[in-house]
Amino acid sequence: MADIDFDGVTKVYGDGPPAVDRLSLHIDDGEFMVLVGPSGCGKTTALRMLAGLEEISSGTLRIGGAVVNNTLPKDRDVAMVFQNYALYPHMSVAQNMGFALKIRGESKREIARKVEDAARILRLTEYLERRPKALSGGQRQRVAMGRAIVRSPQAFLMDEPLSNLDAKLRVEMRSEIARIQRLLSVATVYVTHDQVEAMTMGDRVAVLRDGQLQQVATPQDIYDRPANEFVAGFMGSPPMNLVPCQLRPGRSRVEVVVADQSIELPLGYADTHSLPEAGADVVLGVRPEDVLIADATGANVLKVRVERVEALGSEALVHLAWGEGGASSSRDARSRSFIAKVGPRVTFAPGDVVSVQVSPEHIHFFDAGTGISLRAGGR
């Protein structure tokens, strides 16, 4: 078992832009690290470099302290679960799982014992003699897992292993994989673009965008204290509302001007946030569940119009907007609207004008230019 260290690792294909750009990331021994990001951000590339399937353009990659930049995959002692599972079609489940051990030259009895142990953990015992073709998607996924765990490798690498499963199975396997990883306590790099997987499975989450690392933190930290506008907008479903506004720090409080309305924040805000000077453009961020629709006409409320209500059964999403605009879908209109997540069975209808309230501790500010969080201390 070992830790993994990306140190300024870069991958450039041909003369294109870097697919992975100076990635520095440390994964502790036994840690479950989730790599998330939108499609094409370099997650698979990072994983393949770690597996040794892709040459590293520059930077240093270490496994267990040893530099592995030029080490062949077979000498890295890492196990990988592919998105399409890549099971050997002409081998039985048992042979698939025992292949690496056979190559290593372990005895038949030893292989059989390890395969049976892994099969028991994965509940595959009754399928050991079948060919992959005769298995369901979920069973194939478990065989792919089995092939990885029988080896007791230095690290597990998984590339969207659940993306081919149906929603129910995905939920099941999510906790299954997390359980097995905790059981074996092997450093794991798990690639996904599903943020629920990112939130629920990882010890820590690394968010990538265009090959660049945006933030590494525990899932809750990423959610509560996103380092920038991109992370804020990527994590959460629906994502954080991001509204352009102006700040007017006053003597006793900070005034936030949104469109033609304004709310006021306690002055304490200036202590925890490095707010720019008066009149600066910033982006205000607030999670949908932190938007309260209040009847109150008191201070610090915004008057908004209900555009649309989506009932999701356990909750409802209320799309709100202000100003003229109407229900157009232009970008301008999007920045003039936001979503509130409220309890189910709401009584308002499109066209109603309601008041919303946001408690100051739930408000985030981002620099309008760079997108970086204005929370003091950066992250």
Partner: protein
């Protein structure tokens, strides 16, 4: 849905005259296949039947006389038949090369060695050329004043000269070598197609599992290619038994002596040189049975894997 009738039995489905789905599929399948069946029977079945009949006759092309089973016993006493069968058996030794070389070439091309596109065209070129032309080229290659000797002399071995087609001991080898080269293009293409259908992530998975090149070839690539190899094997053996004629005709004419006379060539000689069409039909049946055995055995092998 469950329906309970008054006396407690389940109602009988009124199937009437309607056939089961399976049965109807079979009928439809038969109807669709009927034109093809008619053609096969008309153009293959009937001639085979005729050949069986003529094999019991003495037939010079115009008049046939029934001579019965003695036609067969006589034929089996003819040493030329045994020579031809032996030549066919010896030529089978070329099959491993006609499969192995293309496999090697396909593996190299698949690794994208430098210039693989050009090589691919070069190897495939013979496939597009008539075997008669290939035979003529090969004849020039092996001839006493031909390319092979020029090459040997060019590397300094001026005292060595070969004339492979001129001797009974070597003519068949020369024919076998030519055959291997004519088959390289088709078989290489077949194997390249097979390799193209191999999921590259399987190889990557094997590499991560610790497999080296040789192990990947044996445990991943070869099993994947097995069907393609079987197909190439059948096609090669059948070509060897039934398509060598043009090469023999232009290269050796079956000689020297009967050294390169195969069953196929013997049929031609017996029928058209000696005018013994009855015996030729008999030989044709023997060749047909031999080829059919190869085909059936092979189909069994393929089928047994399901």
């Amino acid at each position: 849905m469950s329906v309970v009738t008054i006396n407690g039995t389940t109602p009988i489905h009124r199937r009437g005259r309607r056939l089961s789905l399976r049965r109807r599929r079979q009928v439809a399948g038969f109807l669709f296949a009927l034109p093809a069946i008619a053609l096969v029977v008309g153009f293959i079945g009937v001639p085979i039947g005729q050949a069986v009949y003529y094999s019991f006759t003495e037939w010079n092309g115009l008049t046939s006389t029934w001579i019965g089973a003695s036609a067969w016993t006589q034929a089996f006493h003819n040493s030329n038949l045994w020579t031809a069968l032996q030549n066919n058996a010896l030529l089978l030794l070329a099959v491993p090369f006609a499969l192995g070389l293309p496999l090697l070439i396909a593996m190299l091309l698949h690794q994208r060695v430098v210039g693989w596109r050009i090589f691919r065209s070069i190897y495939f070129l013979p496939t597009a050329i008539s075997w008669v032309v290939l035979g003529l080229v090969a004849e020039r290659f092996f001839a006493y004043h031909g390319t092979l000797n020029s090459l040997i002399h060019a590397v300094g071995l001026t005292h060595v000269s070969t004339n492979m087609l001129g001797y009974e001991s070597t003519a068949l080898s020369a024919l076998g070598i030519t055959f291997v080269f004519t088959m390289i293009g088709t078989n290489t293409m077949l194997f390249l197609t097979g390799l193209a259908t191999l999921d590259p992530s399987l190889e990557e998975a094997a590499r991560i599992d610790g497999a080296g090149r040789w192990r990947i070839f044996r445990s991943i690539t070869l099993p994947h290619l097995s069907r393609f190899i079987q197909l190439a094997f059948v096609m090669t053996v059948i070509a060897l038994f039934s398509a060598l004629f043009s090469l023999i005709f232009v290269m050796t004419g079956g000689g020297p002596g009967y050294a390169t006379t195969t069953m196929e060539f013997l049929i031609y000689q017996t029928g058209f040189d000696q005018g013994a069409f009855g015996t030729a039909a008999l030989y044709g049946l023997i060749l047909f049975v031999l080829t059919a055995i190869v085909g059936v055995v092979q189909l069994r092998l393929i089928g047994s894997e399901e």
